[in-house]
């Protein structure tokens, strides 16, 4: 059977949240918990020579002060890159490799006491030289490569030979900034020792089973001795993978008391994870008529002090190259180390930067050759059935990327392009003319993403049914209202014919042993939804066979492939060349995310992603000083879009079904972000007739471009 689309009455917990009845992790307390904070490096790179902690240790309420010399803190294991521990990092070190790196941990009975005591610490710092910008790292060549094998690389055919003889060769170099996920809820963790010598870790992570694995290794415990619980999260976007849980665990173990640690929002800019700032070079060889013969994409992603998830993030850039197949292609992905806060997963996972560069490059090609943007993309973009070279594995000895030969299982990209173009034409006729002194531009862009990480995806579900009561238990997490529980209820309810009020959905802690690979890469409906569907089918079969009593079933679902979703964005932007001010007048997104199970939630995901794309395009940037400190710590200065910054946005879902999936779905959470920034920049460039250096397209950057300056873009 197919699951019919329905916008269920509310997100399962939406009403409770709006009534102010939901406690988020940042409000979570357990009896007798201590409050922890860290002394963090004010410098981009420095050595803590020593710290006088005597006064702090005997300050009121202080229970523990841990310096790097007080404990031999094990490394945070980090995720494995395939089987390699490339993201191992010290939990606490006297060498601060980035601004905000923790060097001393402190726990007290109250938060106020912890802050008072923090002020009494007397650190003795030695400031060290460092690499505080991507430009600097680029000039170092190979020395800044963060990966032992250097760049990830892939080649097909002989692009160099084609570049040497083609009629048209165009190269563009573009930049994107380091940005923050900017989730509203501060970052936090709470760790409690148990009577049995284990630990319960409360943390708003996307992948609790992965955190359990790492925490068990970190503390030298068995998996069963660590339980990870995820309370409601005030926005995740992939970024809740900071080290707070590990720091809190060190203190909890030391004090044998529950410890909660929370970042002030301004600390969150420093210690939270960020999106990689990048430089990207795209080079294409074409015929005069615009046929793509060869393309090369080389990217340099700034991973900050540690690799973290960077190796996977940089690989995701391949999607934007794969979207436009050419016989001859080459990808080189560098991950560069700098003394900046650690970059890691952030909604879109390495794809927004590369898609930005490739799509701006495409628009410039079209302009240069006098061909239509829509026509070029319709002709060139990958089609259903074609091999998707961006799915593969990396040889961790050489860095060579080896495609697996996966095929594009479905694509409604042509529909999305057509719809966006039609929407653009309609918008143009309806919009009032632009103000005197302003210029209007139109832009389009396309994108392909992924559903799930394409390897080791799993989700486990248990279903219990008696007439009128349907209980669904899943190991999936909800990273901030993505609607996992609603969609699982919808699937189970439809298969077993129960109304919403008869359905209970439990998103369980790791103790339930319902293994789940995590809420990342737009994948939970695809993976956890299929697990619930499968378990319900088993129950249904037993019901049909006439089995009496409560019927239950369990399913562990491993999806086949990673069904790429597609999207296009069209935009109209007015620009005032005299000031560089830009005003987005309209945006339209065509989205192919397979079958849409919950139209209202899906729309919310796309609109939210589009807003992040707009912030990435026009406003957001973490500014660093020349010595690696953050130039601004305030949320107000950062540039998160407000309601007044948003244009009218139309969203159209393609009538598409992903054949490889039992429910016909593909990922929805990230794809809407990808094409927005290039569509906006293409519109701005069309308006002013000049190239921009990259993101964000601030008034300054646009004003300089209007004057023919290269502009600045950090």
């Amino acid at each position: 059977m197919t699951i019919a689309g329905e916008s269920s009455p509310a997100l399962r917990d939406g009403l409770a949240k709006a009534r102010g009845e939901v406690a988020f992790g940042s409000e979570l307390r357990v009896a007798g918990n201590l409050f922890a904070i860290a002394l963090r490096s004010p410098f981009g790179h420095a050595q803590l020579l020593d710290v006088d902690a005597a006064a702090a240790r005997c300050a009121p309420g202080v229970v523990a002060v841990l310096t790097p010399w007080d404990l031999s803190a094990p490394d945070v294991p980090g995720d494995l890159f395939y089987d390699q521990p490339l993201s191992r990092r010290p939990a606490l070190s006297a060498e601060a490799l980035h601004v905000g790196a923790p060097v001393v941990l402190l726990a007290a009975e109250t938060l106020a006491q912890a802050y008072e005591a923090l002020r009494l610490l007397r650190p003795n710092w030695l400031e060290l030289p460092g690499q505080f910008s991507l430009e600097g790292a680029l000039s170092q060549g190979g020395a800044a490569e963060a990966l032992p094998f250097g760049a990830v690389h892939w080649q097909q055919g002989d692009p160099q030979a084609i570049f040497a003889q083609a009629a048209i060769v165009r190269e563009d170099i573009l930049r994107t900034s380091t940005v923050q996920a900017g989730a509203l809820e501060p970052y936090w963790a709470l760790v409690e020792p148990t009577a049995q010598g284990g630990f319960i870790v409360h943390n708003g992570v996307a992948a609790p089973f992965e955190l359990r694995r790492q925490m068990a290794e970190f503390l030298g415990l068995s998996l069963q001795q660590v339980e990870v619980r995820c309370p409601p999260v005030g926005g995740g976007f992939g970024s809740r993978s900071d080290d707070l849980a590990f720091l809190a665990a060190l203190l909890a173990r030391h004090c044998q008391r529950p410890v909660r640690m929370q970042l002030q929002r301004s600390e969150g800019w420093l210690a939270g994870r960020v999106r990689h700032g990048a430089q990207l070079r795209v080079r294409s060889a074409l015929t005069q008529q615009g046929r793509l013969l060869a393309r090369e994409l080389e990217v340099w992603y700034d991973t900050g002090a540690f690799a973290d998830l960077g190796p996977y993030v940089v690989l995701r850039a391949l999607r934007s190259l794969a979207l436009y197949p050419a016989e001859h292609q080459r990808f080189i992905g560098h991950l560069l180390r700098t003394n900046k806060p650690v970059a890691s997963a952030t909604r879109g996972f390495g794809n927004p930067q590369a898609t930005f560069a490739v799509e701006v490059h495409n628009a410039r090609i079209c302009k240069q050759l006098g061909i239509g943007s829509l026509e070029f993309r319709q002709k060139t973009a990958i089609r259903a059935g074609a091999i998707n070279p961006s799915v593969g594995v990396v040889d961790t000895q050489t860095g060579a990327f080896v495609p697996k030969g996966a095929r594009i299982s479905s694509s409604a990209l042509p529909w999305c392009l057509q719809r966006a173009q039609q929407g653009l034409e309609e918008a143009i006729t309806h919009l009032p003319a632009c103000a005197p002194g302003w210029l209007r531009g139109q832009g389009v862009a396309a994108a392909m993403h992924t559903t799930g990480k394409g390897r080791a995806e799993v989700s486990t579900a248990e279903v219990f049914w008696t007439p009128g009561l349907l209980r669904v238990r899943s190991g999936a997490t909800d990273q901030g209202g993505t609607g996992v529980a609603s969609v699982l209820a919808q699937i189970a309810g439809q298969v077993l014919g129960e109304p919403p009020e008869a359905i209970v959905v439990e998103l369980c802690s790791t103790a339930a042993e319902l293994a789940d690979s995590g809420a990342h890469a737009s994948s939970r409906t695809f993976v956890a939804g299929a697990a619930v569907w499968d378990a319900c089918q088993l129950v249904l079969a037993r019901r049909k066979a006439g089995e009496p009593g409560e019927l239950s079933a369990r399913s562990a679902w491993h999806p086949d492939g990673n069904a790429p979703p597609f999207a296009t964005c069209a935009a109209v932007v007015d620009v005032e060349p005299a000031t560089g001010l830009c005003q987005v007048r309209w945006m339209g997104l065509g989205v192919d995310a397979g079958r849409i199970l919950n139209p209202r939630q899906a729309l919310g995901q796309v609109l939210g992603a589009a807003m992040m794309g707009l912030g990435f395009a026009l406003y957001e940037r973490l500014d660093f000083t020349a010595d690696g400190r953050l130039a601004s710590l305030s949320v107000a200065d950062y540039g998160t879009p407000r309601a007044t910054d948003m244009p009218p946005i139309d969203v159209w879902f393609a009538p598409s079904v992903e054949e490889s999936h039992p429910l016909g779905v593909k990922g929805i959470g990230e794809i809407g972000l990808m094409p927005v920034a290039p569509a906006l920049v293409n519109a701005i460039e069309a308006a002013i007739g000049r190239p921009l250096p990259g993101l964000p397209a601030t008034p300054e950057s646009v004003w300089r471009a209007c004057r023919g300056e290269g502009g600045t873009c950090t």
């Binding site: 949240k17 406690a23 802050y115 807003m611 949320v635």
Partner: protein
Amino acid sequence: MENTEKTYTWMALVDSTPRQVDLTGNASLAEAIAAALQAEALVDPSKIACSEGSCGACCVRVDGERLLSCLAPAWRHFGARIETAASWRATDLPMRLAQAGAVQCGFCTPGLVVALGDLADHGVKPKTEAELADLLQAHLCRCTGYQQLLHAGLAWLNEQENS
């Protein structure tokens, strides 16, 4: 060091219920309403996000006036009537927002409920979503892109009887 811990007992009428909070520490006198509310509540309807007055998550109504509670010192509002999102539980506003898709992570929502509720109490009926966006300029939402929120908020405000 000798224990010089100071305690400041603060009281307010929070969502019509008298609440007494003991604030400790040398800075307790300067504690903001937001921190005071969170100090003892199991679930506090007002949320703390930026702590600097930039996001609106902590928006509450204090003696009939909308305030960012992360910036308002508790002592200055001793005994005040404080209304959090809980004061609008009996209205249809929470359901309307949830049904419209205006609630994703929901961390911004209680503050927005207070803002919209306060606009309604003042008989404000914006004509367009853009006009409402201006009125909600103090609020950040990182999840929804605002459209479903503005849509639902506009419709709801315009349905309210003038009080």
